[in-house]
């Protein structure tokens, strides 16, 4: 059903009814934005990458062949743009400073709410190698199957599973170490 609805919207857009694209944006902007935000953290960057994702999807809509769901295809575009953005951010000290400041504000708010463990986990997740973090985020928050994750990140299913397993075990080890040090 979801596929049919998307297909008809996409066909409308391709036949020249641009307004139909708004339906696709409204349907998928939140999952794409939150996915990007978990990768990039800062709202400004996430908004920018989300917007670019839809603009690029529009430009390439004729190349979408319905071999995956539209959401998977969008996430694939988003992940490539987010990777580029991460590369840019890693080169910019100012951006990183801003990002850290944003994070601090957010973390202080959460700390006040007594959610230190969540803060720690979020930081631990951010500390994973990007290939592991991508897969963990897609699996945990977007609830994608490993087959779909492989499509999105451009790897095979086995690699996606290995990256997820390694990422989760790494988080678990860090978590256990932290708990022991607190005891």
């Amino acid at each position: 059903m979801v596929f049919d609805e998307d297909r008809s919207l996409i066909e409308e857009v391709l036949s020249g009814r641009l307004e139909a694209f708004e339906g696709l944006i409204r349907k998928y902007q939140k999952p794409i934005f939150y996915f990007v935000q978990r990768m990039l953290r800062r709202q400004e960057d996430s908004d920018d990458v989300t917007q670019k994702t839809f603009v690029q999807a529009y430009r390439n809509l004729a190349k979408f062949r319905f071999e995956s769901s539209f959401k998977t295809w969008l996430t694939k575009i988003a992940i490539n743009l987010a990777r580029n953005q991460l590369r840019i951010l890693s080169r910019s000290f100012f951006e990183l400073d801003d990002q850290v400041a944003d994070e601090k504000t957010q973390n202080e708010m959460e700390r006040r709410e007594g959610e230190e463990e969540k803060i720690w986990l979020k930081q631990a997740l951010d500390g994973l190698p990007p290939t592991q973090k991508e897969v963990v985020v897609l699996r945990i928050y977007d609830e994608l199957s490993f087959k779909k994750i492989a499509q999105v990140v451009g790897s095979n299913e086995g690699t996606a599973k290995v990256n997820f397993h390694h990422g989760m075990r790494r988080l678990k080890e860090m978590y256990e170490k932290r708990r022991k040090s607190e005891e």
């Binding site: 641009l18 694209f21 708004e22 944006i25 409204r26 902007q29 939140k30 934005f33 939150y34 935000q37 978990r38 953290r41 709202q43 908004d47 989300t50 917007q51 839809f54 603009v55 529009y58 430009r59 004729a62 190349k63 944003d102 994070e103 957010q106 463990e117 969540k118 986990l121 979020k122 997740l125 963990v136 945990i140 928050y141 199957s145 490993f146 087959k147 599973k161 290995v162 997820f164 397993h165 989760m168 075990r169 988080l171 678990k172 978590y175 256990e176």
Partner: protein
Amino acid sequence: MKCNEFQNLWTEALDEGLAPEKKREWETHRDSCPACREELESLDSLQHQLRGIPPANPPPPVFWNRQTESIMKKIEAAPGRRLSRLWEALFQPRGAFAAAALALLIFFGYRYFSPTPLSDPADENQWALQLGDEEEIEQGSWDLDLTEEQLDDYYAYLAQKYFPQVDLEDEFSEKVWIEDLDEQGLDQAIQFYEKNSGRRTL
């Protein structure tokens, strides 16, 4: 089943990807091995905790409307949109090739206006069909499966055919995707095309 295999099959089990017999073995091991069960429980608990992390700074409701409007504005103003109209206008018997020539104008720039003689197939359709798929040609995406060398040859051929007198060096000094042109750049490209082909586009 050994502990190592049990742990390696964890991701398979998550996706319900185990064959019935393997699944039974896996469950039997889980129920009989306290160490593996503990490992599994802690991984499950960790997943649960991760799911409980809310998105950072959830935006206010008005944010989504603003974002939608902003995307739609960008799309409406995008040269790609104007380009698709141009493409439709060009789609006459030989229109796709004329449009491809327009794309060439920007895509390969002046570098391909070399005086080197190129082969000149009698029929452009035949030339394109040798390189791409008929359906893709109609969709304007036939060039996606070509090698870079084949694309170079084809665009260079079109360059000579449609834009023999255009001096692009002043206008486009480097390779640019047509989708990346701004309004002014697209206008310039259209003017070049119309001037040199004698065709109207929009």
